[in-house]
Structure formats: structure tokens, C-alpha cells
């Protein structure tokens, strides 16, 4: 019994920092609709700033003062980020801002490394709270008790702010219908900035508060991100009590999981999330999204049309150029461009789902990595030849997509995205944990192409044919009646259903199709690299694809592969330099600000303005 109570208390203490970071994310999303990927970075900054302040400020007052100041300082940094990076892109298509926040992550990572150096910092202990309290004979650290007490106060203060003050009223109003709030004369810009300050300050506070239980290190931004997203989603996006409840549930379950199922540490919270969302598609305390957004944000998407002669000629010319790359005689260019081609197919498959279907998937790597693993497992255990493995990889990924799609499509919007993330993570942990079959994180190695394709030039042509073929097939599907039905389901599910389209079915097929194409890219990837590791199923891989799709332009037909080609080439150049993450992050932010329609969308607009392309109006 004593142990049980002690474990419960450990769980409650762990919930503290998690709740603060998650509530910040939830607030920001609720009001600004920005999915802030950089939230983990603010948490990390909180820890580092708090650590530095604690070195300077003495005693107990200094310790707690440092925590508050860290929250304040991180909040101010949040304001700078909001004003410089996000404000210019609020009118961009939905979720586009997450690309900008991704750039912020990279910048903060390198700046933190520059300022605080690479060594992990051990957090100072809280003065006066270094010992333990014996509760029924079990030791419970005093600082844990402090955290258990502090967290509800922060939660209560937040609740008061949101529920009882005028600012809170505005925030709630903006959460429900921000256009109406704007129309009623509230200065939206400052409201957004204020909320961003509050959210980031909470993240900073969380980072500083956990110092006595750990410290500050350069990997903590990503290690907390997934759990924070899970907490926000289980609680319900935008719901503060939900975030608290979910943080407690996840933390307490985790403590018991550690004791009774020690191997479960990787998956537990994702399993909980899938179960919760199956039962309550909008989280525990979340409400169904009211139709707050009046249609899509930003300008409406243009109807698609087949490429004109000029564009076709340009594409044919580019393809001819690509096909003659091996004539340069540089082995490295063959390898590099094979890599880029494979990534472009992967990005194009996600772009199809996102652009045509309006289905934002955070877990598309499940199919890329899935296809890769199917091929690798076949080669390793069945001695399957490359040709057959390349055929079965997309089929295997497609099968996975059928199952995953069936579950995920029960939810919509951000909840759909989070479910795909959860499944991506489940597949990842399966590959990671099931060492006997998948090799765990030592992966599967020695999977090389058949003899005829083992030359880099031959493999380059193989990848060229399959990737360009795949991208053209995706494009063709967009022009087919299927594509029209899919876009109808995206733009107005209700009207589409009234015209006799089974929207869920159409979306399910699209999900499977995109998964299949990602699987083909994954299959090619294995044979080009000769090995596969769980990295290919990681969240980071899904995010890579997501970033380039937005960067290329969602509301265009070619955004996926253009973004992919641009991003991969730039990355190849930049990683040669010492502070490449800083440069890449700044470049992403720069592109986001000057080209809020994505690279393709903005180039098209530019072309129209300069008269090189015919505008929309002239075509009608």
C-alpha cells in the first residue's frame, strides 16, 4: 500500500512540468491555430535560462525567483518569435505556420549549443527541499511534494485567468471564432502575441521547474515534444482542465507501467491515446470543433487544370536533363540525385493526401519506413529478389494504410493528425522493440540491389523511372474523377455527401494510395542504402516530409516534389558548414515569410504578375 501511494505521488509530481508545457501548447493552438512544433524548444530554453539564473541568484528566494524569471524571459523570447516569424504568415493556409516553427527549432538548437556548450547541465537542487519525506515508510522526495502542490495552483491561476477575467473572455471568444472577435473590434494581433507569451512562458516555467529532477541538455526539446502532443490531444485541444487530467493520467500510468511492464516505456502513452481517441474522438474534455472557421483560411484554392504546353515542355526538358546526369560521370551526383528522387516521391505521396484530400498526416513515415521494412524483411528472411521486393513493398505499406486509415479516419483535423502520429510511433516501437525479427535499432543490413542494378548508374535510372512514374501517377489521380471526389470531400464534406459521394470511403482510398506510394519510395530507399533502421519510421521523418510539402506549396499540384527537391539539395549543401542548423532554420523562416503560398504557389503568382503565366481570371 505504501508503495502504491508513493508511486501515485511520483506520477503526480511528474505531471507538473508536463502539464505546464502542454497547457501552453494547448492555449496557443486554441487561439492562434498554430501547431507550435517549437514548443519543446521553449521548454529547453526555460531549463537553460533557469539554470543560468540559479547560478547567479542565491538561496531559496533566488531559486524560486530564477524559475519565475525563466518563465518570463522565455515568454519574451516567444513574443519575439511571434512578431518576427509568425505574424507575417497568419494569413497563410492552415497549418502552414508549423513550417516556420520548425525553422525556429533549428535556430534555437544551434543558438543553445553556441551559448551553453554541448555538455549536459545537472540542475541545482531546490534549497531546503533536498531530502525525503517518509509516507507510510516509503521515501518521497520533498521537491516532488512541492511540485504536487504547485501544479494545481498554476492550473487554478490559469483557469481564473481564462474563465474570470476580460482577457480570458477574449481568449475564449477567439478560440471559438477568431474572425468574429476581430470583427467586434478586438486587436487580434496583440491578443495572439499575448497568448503566445503566456504559452511560451508556461513552457519555460515547466523547463525551469523540472531542473531539480534532472537538468538541461540539448536533446530535451524533442524528447518532450511527443508526450506534450499526446497530453494535449488526450485532454482535448484547447481544454486546460483536459490538459491537467491527461498529464496526470499519462504520468501515473507511466509510473505503474515502469513497475509492472518495464518494456512498455516506448509505447504506453500512444496506446492510451489511440484508445481514448477511439472512444472520444475529440479527447477527454475537448469539444467538437464548431464551424468557427468560415471556409478555408486564406484565399480559396484554385481549380486544378492540366498543365499547358509550356509547362509540359519545361517538365520534359527537366526530365531529359535529369536523365543525362550520369553523363557527368560523377558517382556522387548519381547517389545524391537518387536520394532526392526517392524523397520527392515520398513527399509527393504526402502532398497528395494533404493537398488533394485535406488530410494532414503527422505519421506518413509509417508507410515510407513500412515499405522499407517490408522489403528488408523479405530479403533477409525469404531471400526475395529485389524486383519482387520492390513490388511487395508498396503493397505491404498499402495494406498497413488500409488498417491505419480505417482507425484514423474516424477522427478529423488535428485529431486525425495525432492518430496517424500515434500509429507511426506504434510501428516505430514495433520495429525498435522486436529485436529478434527486425534487429531492433541495429536494424537490418546487407540488403543490396540485384546484380544488374548494383551499379549506381543503373540504380539511378531505376529510381528515376519508378519515382517519376509514381509522381505522375499521383498527379494523374488528382485529375481523374477520383481526384475530383476527393477534393469535394475536402472542401465540403456535407455537400459532397449530398451529391452521392461516400466521402469517408474516398478518403480511405486516398489514404491507402498515398501509403502505397510512400511504400514504393521506402522500398527504393532500402536498396539504395543497403540497410534500414527504425529511424525511417521516426516522427522526425514524418516531419521532414510535412515541412517540404508546406514549403513547396500545398495548394498546388507540384508542391510536394518541388519542395522535396529544394529542401534536400539545400540540406546537402548546408550540412557541410559548422552551424548548418542555424542557417537551415533561418532559410526555412525566410522562405516561409517571402513565399507564404509555398515555393510553387508564390512563383506562380510572381509569374502571373510578370505576365509569364496566364492568370486565373483570363482562363475563366
Amino acid at each position: 500500500m505504501g508503495l502504491f501511494i508513493a508511486q501515485l505521488l511520483t506520477g503526480l509530481a511528474n505531471a507538473g512540468a508536463l502539464f505546464m508545457v502542454a497547457s501552453g501548447l494547448s492555449l496557443i493552438f486554441g487561439v492562434t491555430r498554430v501547431v507550435n512544433f517549437a514548443h519543446g524548444s521553449f521548454y529547453m530554453l526555460g531549463a537553460y535560462v533557469g539554470y543560468t539564473l540559479m547560478q547567479v541568484l542565491p538561496g531559496a528566494v533566488g531559486f524560486w525567483g530564477a524559475i519565475l524569471l525563466a518563465g518570463l524571459i522565455v515568454g519574451l523570447i516567444g513574443i519575439i518569435v511571434e512578431i518576427c516569424v509568425l505574424r507575417p504568415v497568419y494569413s497563410a493556409p492552415e497549418l502552414f505556420q508549423l513550417v516556420a516553427t520548425f525553422g525556429v527549432i533549428l535556430v534555437i538548437q544551434d543558438l543553445t549549443l553556441m551559448i551553453w556548450g554541448p555538455t549536459d547541465l545537472l540542475g541545482p537542487r531546490a534549497p531546503g527541499l533536498k531530502g525525503v519525506v517518509r509516507i507510510m515508510g516509503e521515501p518521497v522526495p520533498q521537491y516532488d511534494i512541492a511540485l504536487i502542490v504547485i501544479t494545481p495552483f498554476v492550473a487554478l491561476a490559469l483557469w481564473y485567468l481564462i474563465a474570470r477575467t476580460r482577457v480570458g473572455t477574449l481568449v475564449r471568444a477567439a478560440t471559438q471564432d477568431r474572425e468574429m472577435v476581430g470583427a467586434l473590434g478586438v486587436n487580434q494581433a496583440w491578443l495572439f502575441t499575448g497568448v503566445f507569451f503566456l504559452g511560451c512562458a508556461l513552457a519555460g516555467l515547466g523547463g525551469a521547474l523540472q531542473l531539480p529532477k534532472g537538468g538541461a541538455d540539448l536533446l530535451m526539446d524533442f524528447s518532450i515534444l511527443a508526450s506534450v502532443f499526446v497530453v494535449v490531444v488526450i485532454g482535448g485541444m484547447g481544454s486546460l482542465p483536459g490538459a491537467y487530467l491527461a498529464a496526470v493520467i499519462i504520468s501515473v500510468l507511466n509510473v505503474f507501467g515502469v513497475t509492472y511492464l518495464p518494456q512498455s516505456t516506448l509505447v504506453l502513452m500512444f496506446v492510451v491515446m489511440v484508445i481514448v481517441l477511439m472512444v472520444r474522438p475529440f479527447g477527454l474534455l475537448g469539444r467538437e470543433e464548431v464551424a468557427g472557421e468560415h471556409g478555408q483560411v486564406g484565399e480559396p484554392e484554385r481549380p486544378i487544370r492540366p498543365a499547358g504546353t509550356g509547362v509540359r515542355l519545361l517538365v520534359a526538358f527537366l526530365l531529359a536533363l535529369l536523365a543525362s546526369v550520369p553523363l557527368l560521370g560523377s558517382n556522387f551526383y548519381n547517389v545524391l540525385i537518387t536520394d532526392i528522387l526517392i524523397f520527392c516521391l515520398f513527399a509527393a505521396s504526402l502532398h497528395f493526401l494533404l493537398g488533394q484530400g485535406g488530410l494532414v498526416s503527422f505519421g506518413h513515415a509509417a508507410f515510407f519506413g513500412g515499405g522499407a521494412y517490408v522489403a528488408a524483411l523479405l530479403v533477409t528472411y525469404a531471400g526475395t529478389p529485389m524486383e519482387l521486393a520492390l513490388l511487395l513493398a508498396p503493397l505491404g505499406a498499402g495494406l498497413a494504410a488500409i488498417v491505419i486509415g480505417w482507425v484514423c479516419l474516424r477522427s478529423t483535423g488535428v485529431y486525425f493528425a495525432m492518430l496517424t502520429l500515434a500509429f507511426g510511433q506504434l510501428l516505430w516501437s514495433l520495429a525498435f522493440q522486436w529485436g529478434d525479427i527486425t534487429g531492433g535499432d541495429d536494424g537490418l543490413v546487407n540488403i543490396w540491389p540485384s546484380d544488374w542494378a548494383s551499379d549506381n548508374v543503373v540504380f539511378f535510372y531505376l529510381a528515376l523511372v519508378l519515382c517519376v512514374g509514381g509522381i505522375l501517377l499521383l498527379r494523374h489521380a488528382a485529375h481523374a474523377p477520383f481526384g475530383y471526389a476527393l477534393r469535394a470531400a475536402r472542401d465540403s464534406a456535407r455537400q459532397a455527401e449530398a451529391t452521392g459521394i461516400n466521402t469517408r470511403h474516398v478518403q480511405w482510398v486516398a489514404f491507402t494510395f498515398a501509403g502505397t506510394m510512400a511504400g514504393l519510395a521506402g522500398g527504393l530507399f532500402v536498396f539504395s542504402k543497403g540497410s534500414v533502421f527504425p529511424n525511417e519510421l521516426e516522427i522526425a521523418r514524418s516531419f521532414d516530409a510535412l515541412i517540404v510539402v508546406f514549403l513547396g506549396g500545398v495548394k498546388t499540384l507540384s508542391g510536394g516534389w518541388v519542395g522535396g527537391a529544394f529542401f534536400e539539395s539545400v540540406k546537402d549543401v548546408l550540412t557541410r558548414f559548422e552551424y548548418w542548423r542555424l542557417a537551415l532554420g533561418l532559410l526555412i523562416i525566410f522562405v516561409v515569410i517571402v513565399a507564404p503560398d509555398g515555393i510553387v504557389g508564390s512563383l506562380r503568382k510572381l509569374g502571373e504578375r510578370l505576365g509569364w503565366l496566364r492568370g486565373e481570371r483570363e482562363l475563366r
Binding site: P141, V255, N456
Partner: protein, 408 residues
């Protein structure tokens, strides 16, 4: 941020990196430099990769000051792979085919090491895995083109198991990060300890997710198992959290803890005055070397003089990497791949710690590790009563190794 300042920033970066590259090349000798491709996670694992790189640079300066290798300067091309195996493969291709590197080395993460090893076998390029610890690099996935410098997981776990077998402790609990390294480390410890002392019993196993440890819960679970002794494989931020929670909650009272790698400066230094006392660990006691330790002391002094900071274990590994490569190429008498491969087989190298041999049977070097007890001294964790254990004594018999390796 406007376009102009951004461009200025980029230009500055380019200029800075060009300057850094030119500072690296020492053109004292005649002839084209011999290039070695070095792929690592300079950003993702900066705390480990930076001392390693400095160790390499120190060795290069010394080697080139003495006339280089085959009368040509030795040069390393450092590239960042972001800790991504696929990226490392691409870079390896570029280094070997476009940059004209003679061989490849690098990586800290085992999975990246295994990916490069697989490529090395396919393309018949020599790869020296300096830091990756996975047993698979030289055993289950071993190949003729891949060599490994550092004492593997198995060897270091065996050293600790030998220490553990000499005590009265019977009931053991283990805590290890939930990934291949952690699992290998626990399996090897169990195997060797059970062999040496069949009556031991393993009463608990904890598997926290790497860098996401829930230390309070793990400590409670370990306490619940009531072990006589604990075997720890966690490292980095996980170790810091584990030590703090374990100390606060009294887990370590009256129990000996065996910590794999826990005595390495990379891991024990960040713990400061909270470093645990009385743990039996593998590590690197650079602060204790005296004139009696000869080359060890000379290396530590040279490193501190050159970089004005204390060495980490990675510094030593980096230094020995460059030494080994220089020795192999010198022995091969050429920069041709197969000649270097043959030279590596059975190669002996004079290093700061000992004379090491790259074994012909499995391409594993006999570099050992320092085993000792931790204690606090001047507010920092150090190793005491340490001895250097020769890696050759902690490897399975040749027959067993032959069975572990795929047929060549």
C-alpha cells in the same frame, strides 16, 4: 529579418568554415595529402563528437609534424551526418568517390556504424568503426572490410561482471536504456556473471526509454525488487536523473552499483558533486596519471596544452583512431583499399593506453578499459583504485568468436 542581413549571415558562415578548413590542412610535406573520410554526429551528439574530433586533430598535428604518412600529409575530412544512417551512406559515397578518401572512419551511434559497415562490405571500402560499441559490428554483422577500435559492449560488461563475481552479492537488478546497446549490455553481463558465479539471481530488469527516463518510477521499481546489487547501463541525462532520484530515495544505500561507462568523463563530469560514490565503473581516470603511466600522461598533457581543456574518453578514442589509421597506411605502403585492409589485419599500434592489436579473427582491436571505483574528490566524481584491463582478456574463445561471425 530582411534579406540583406540573412545573406550577410550566410556569407559569414561560408567564410568562417573555409577559414576553419584551411587551418586544418598542414602542408609541411611534399605530395598530395592522404585523405580520410570522417563521418560523425557533430551536432546531434556534440558533447561526444567534439572531444573526439579534437583528439583526431591533435594526433594529425603530431603525425604531420613528423613527416606524415608515406611522406604525405594525413588529412581528415569531417562531415556531419545528423545521426541519420541514410545520410551517412550518402556522405560515405561522396567521400570515397568524389573526395578521393582512402578509407572511412567515424560514427558514435551503433546503427550508423552498422550502416556504414554494410556499405563498406558491399563497395569494398575500408571502414574503421572507432566509437560504436555494438557487438554486431565485429560479430554477427562483421565483415572483412570493417574494423573496430574501442572495447565492445561485451568486453566492458565482462570486465564489470568479473568484478561483481568477486563479491557476496547474489541478487542483481539491472537498469538499461530500452534499445540495442542496453539489451546487449545486460545480456553480456548476465552471461559472463552467471558463468563465473552460477548462483546469482536476476530479480529485476528495468528498461527506461532512451533519454526519457522516468527516474522516480524506475527507482521505486528497483527498490521493490530488493536486490543486493544493481547493474546500471543508463548514461547521459538519464544517468543524471537516475543518480539524483536514487540518491534522494536511498536506493544505493548498502548496495554496490556496477555502472557501464559511468566513469567516463563524458558522463561523470556533468554530475559534479552529486556523482555517486562507491560505484564500480568502466571509465577514463585521466586526472590520476603520473609519470609511471608514461604514454597515458604524455597524451593527457599534450591534449591539455593543445586545447586548454581536460580530455574526455572520446579525445583518447579520436587520438587512437588517427594513430591506427596512420599505422595501417604506413604498413600497407599504399592508399589502395585492399592493401589497407590487409594491413589492418593483425596490425599493432603503440597508443597512450597500451599496445593494441587488431585481431585477425574478428577485426576487433584489443583496446581495453579502465575499471575502478568512483569517489568524490574536490567536488567532482573521480575513479579510484583503477586498473587498466587489457581487452584481449575479455573476449570469448576463438572458437566461439568464429561461430559468431558470418563465414567469410
Amino acid at each position: 529579418m530582411n534579406r540583406k542581413t540573412f545573406l550577410t549571415g550566410i556569407t559569414g558562415l561560408v567564410a568562417a568554415s573555409t577559414w576553419a578548413a584551411s587551418g586544418m590542412a598542414l602542408m609541411a610535406q611534399s605530395g598530395e595529402p592522404i585523405k580520410i573520410g570522417e563521418i560523425n554526429h557533430y551536432k546531434r551528439l556534440a558533447a561526444f563528437a567534439e572531444p573526439y574530433k579534437k583528439g583526431i586533430e591533435l594526433a594529425l598535428e603530431e603525425i604531420n609534424a613528423e613527416g606524415g604518412v608515406l611522406d604525405r600529409p594525413l588529412e581528415f575530412i569531417f562531415r556531419d551526418d545528423q545521426g541519420d544512417p541514410g545520410e551517412a551512406i550518402k556522405i560515405a559515397e561522396e567521400l570515397m568517390t568524389s573526395e578521393g578518401a582512402a578509407m572511412i572512419t567515424g560514427s558514435i551511434l551503433s546503427n550508423v556504424g552498422l550502416a556504414i559497415a554494410s556499405l563498406a562490405a558491399e563497395k569494398e571500402w575500408v571502414y574503421l568503426a572507432a566509437e560504436p560499441l555494438a557487438d554486431a559490428v565485429t560479430w554477427s554483422q562483421g565483415n572483412p572490410w570493417t574494423f573496430r577500435l574501442r572495447a565492445s559492449t561485451y568486453m566492458q560488461a565482462a570486465m564489470l561482471a568479473e568484478q561483481a563475481a568477486q563479491t557476496d552479492a547474489v541478487k542483481y537488478a539491472t537498469i538499461a536504456p530500452n534499445y540495442a546497446y542496453g539489451k546487449d549490455a545486460v545480456a553480456a553481463f548476465k552471461e559472463v556473471l552467471t558463468e563465473l558465479k552460477p548462483e546469482v539471481e536476476f530479480v529485476g530488469e528495468q528498461w527506461p526509454a532512451l533519454f526519457k527516463i522516468d527516474a522516480g518510477a524506475e527507482v521505486q521499481a528497483l527498490e521493490r525488487a530488493k536486490p543486493d546489487a544493481i547493474y546500471n547501463v543508463t548514461f547521459g541525462p538519464d544517468l543524471a536523473k537516475f543518480v539524483r532520484e536514487g540518491g534522494t530515495r536511498g536506493l544505493f544505500e548498502g548496495r554496490t552499483v556496477y555502472g557501464l561507462l559511468s566513469g567516463e568523463p563524458e558522463y561523470i563530469e556533468p554530475l559534479g558533486d552529486e556523482a555517486p560514490e562507491g560505484w564500480v565503473v568502466t571509465g577514463y581516470p585521466w586526472y590520476d596519471f603520473t609519470e609511471d603511466d608514461g604514454a597515458n600522461k604524455a597524451f593527457v598533457d599534450a591534449y591539455q596544452a593543445r586545447w586548454e581543456e581536460t580530455p574526455k574518453l572520446g579525445s583518447l578514442v579520436g587520438y587512437m583512431t588517427a594513430q591506427s589509421i596512420a599505422a595501417a597506411i604506413e604498413k600497407a605502403g599504399s592508399t589502395e583499399g585492399d592493401a589497407i585492409r590487409q594491413a589492418f589485419e593483425g596490425l599493432t599500434v603503440e597508443t597512450p593506453v597500451d599496445t593494441i592489436t587488431f585481431r585477425e579473427i574478428d577485426n576487433q582491436a584489443t583496446m581495453g578499459a579502465f575499471v575502478g571505483k568512483t569517489m568524490l574528490k574536490d567536488g567532482a566524481g573521480v575513479m579510484t583504485d583503477w586498473t587498466y584491463k587489457d581487452g584481449a582478456d575479455y573476449l570469448p574463445s576463438d572458437e566461439e568468436v568464429a561461430k559468431l561471425r558470418p563465414a567469410e
